[in-house]
């Protein structure tokens, strides 16, 4: 074997020399992955954002598109009807459910006096019981409820003005949904009042 340059020898059988394949591979994969990321990243971001953007118009009657706007320190969506006038608000909200976090979108009338729609983005409640909170039949109860006083789940089938019929076997899930709605609506109304007081 021809006499190799000592520096090259000391690198070759030093620690790094043995793992030249690992170094080469990791650089090569670093490049390919950043290429993949550059190629696919904005597609994923659009997927993420328009997932909730698609639902926003459905929560407010007469709304066609949604626009993300900040009220006070909350980033909310403003639902606009055909001629771009405000048809209502849609607030993203998160809270602790029975098994894990629950993410919901709350639709409100323009003056935030009553609820106009509710939809659950993602949840990990017990399938078959807690997961029935995503059914529109249960969520439609919230439409039209006032936002001045807080909503409470009840057992009796005929709920009164600000009561919601809880799902049998999933009282904690229904209770947590009501709790999330109450907290976030109260926070949003305070922000809205502050913004309207000094536009």
């Amino acid at each position: 074997m021809k006499k190799e340059h000592p520096l090259f020898l000391c690198i070759k059988n030093s620690y790094l020399g043995q793992s030249w394949l690992v170094i080469l591979l990791s650089i090569f994969f670093g490049f390919t992955l950043s290429g993949v990321q550059a190629f696919l990243q904005e597609k994923i971001d659009t997927n993420k954002s328009n997932q909730s953007m698609r639902i926003v118009p459905t929560l407010v009657p007469g709304a066609v598109t949604g626009k993300s706007v900040t009220v006070g320190d909350l980033t909310v969506y403003e639902a606009l009807n055909q001629n771009n006038k405000r048809a209502g608000w849609v607030i993203p909200a998160r809270g602790q459910g029975f098994a894990d976090k629950i993410e919901i979108l709350i639709g409100l009338t323009p003056d935030a006096s009553s609820l106009s729609g509710l939809s659950v983005l993602n949840q990990k409640e017990t399938p078959g019981l807690g997961s029935r909170i995503t059914e529109s039949s249960w969520l439609s109860q919230f439409i039209g409820k006032g936002t001045t006083d807080s909503l409470t789940p009840t057992k009796n089938p005929v709920p009164s003005k600000n009561e919601i019929r809880a799902i049998t076997g999933a009282t904690i899930s229904s209770f947590s949904i009501c709790q999330i709605v109450n907290e976030n609506v109260k926070k949003f109304r305070a922000e809205l009042r502050k913004q309207q007081a000094d536009p």
Binding site: S19, F29, L40, K43, I44, N47, P127
Partner: protein
């Protein structure tokens, strides 16, 4: 394996039933239990694993002469991880709702024992052709096992199969099947059934 080094076709056949990675070798059980709540999720996971397994096997068998024994595992892990990230991004870009549902189990393919096992047993020793056929056989076996488990759990749990209503409406959904205990029970009984079936065949043949 019983013989010294089986040919490509034998490895392909063995991958599906006789050496089925999940039921016979009990490897790669983590995703099998977690993702088999419904058929669509099972199929997506199978395609993802198949893609990763085939690409990783080809790359490893291409560079098998350069491998050093003590750094072998790190090289396997690197190639598998990069292919899994590619699959993860592809899934998030083109099938976003499924990517949400599978959640953390797509990156978990990296530590799926099947892939590392196939790389070590087959790809780092055989030529490319044998490695690819072995990979396809194993992923078909993986898919078969996953779909069989998912169909059990979905039919019993939510009365539908791949979305189509199978059970009559009067069927009370057996919610346990969708929950973790159901996964364990279905998997345990299926392994029992496969063992019983193979021992039956062995008695008949011997």
């Amino acid at each position: 394996m019983s013989k010294e080094n089986p040919t490509a076709l034998e490895r392909f056949i063995w991958g599906i039933i006789p050496e089925n990675p999940i039921f016979r070798q009990v490897l790669g059980t983590c995703p099998a239990l977690a993702v088999s709540t419904d058929i669509k999720a099972a199929l997506t996971m199978t395609c993802a694993t198949a893609f990763v397994l085939i690409c990783a096997n080809t790359i490893i068998s291409l560079i098998r002469h350069l491998l050093k024994p003590h750094l072998r595992i790190v090289v396997f892990v690197l190639t598998i991880a990069s292919f899994v990230t590619i699959v993860d991004y592809l899934l998030a870009a083109f099938y976003y709702s499924m990517s949400l549902q599978l959640g953390p189990y797509v990156p978990l393919i990296i530590v799926n024992c099947i892939i590392i096992c196939r790389c070590e047993v087959c790809a780092s020793k055989q030529s490319v052709g044998v490695a690819i056929s072995d990979a396809i056989g194993q992923s078909l076996g993986f898919g078969l096992a996953l779909v069989s488990m998912a169909s059990f759990r979905e039919i019993l749990g939510s009365g539908t199969w791949c979305g189509f209503r199978i059970m009559p409406d009067s069927w009370p959904n057996w919610v346990l099947m969708l929950l973790p205990p159901g996964a364990f029970f279905v998997f345990g009984f299926l392994i029992g059934a496969v063992n019983w079936f193979t021992s039956l065949k062995k008695n008949k043949s011997s």
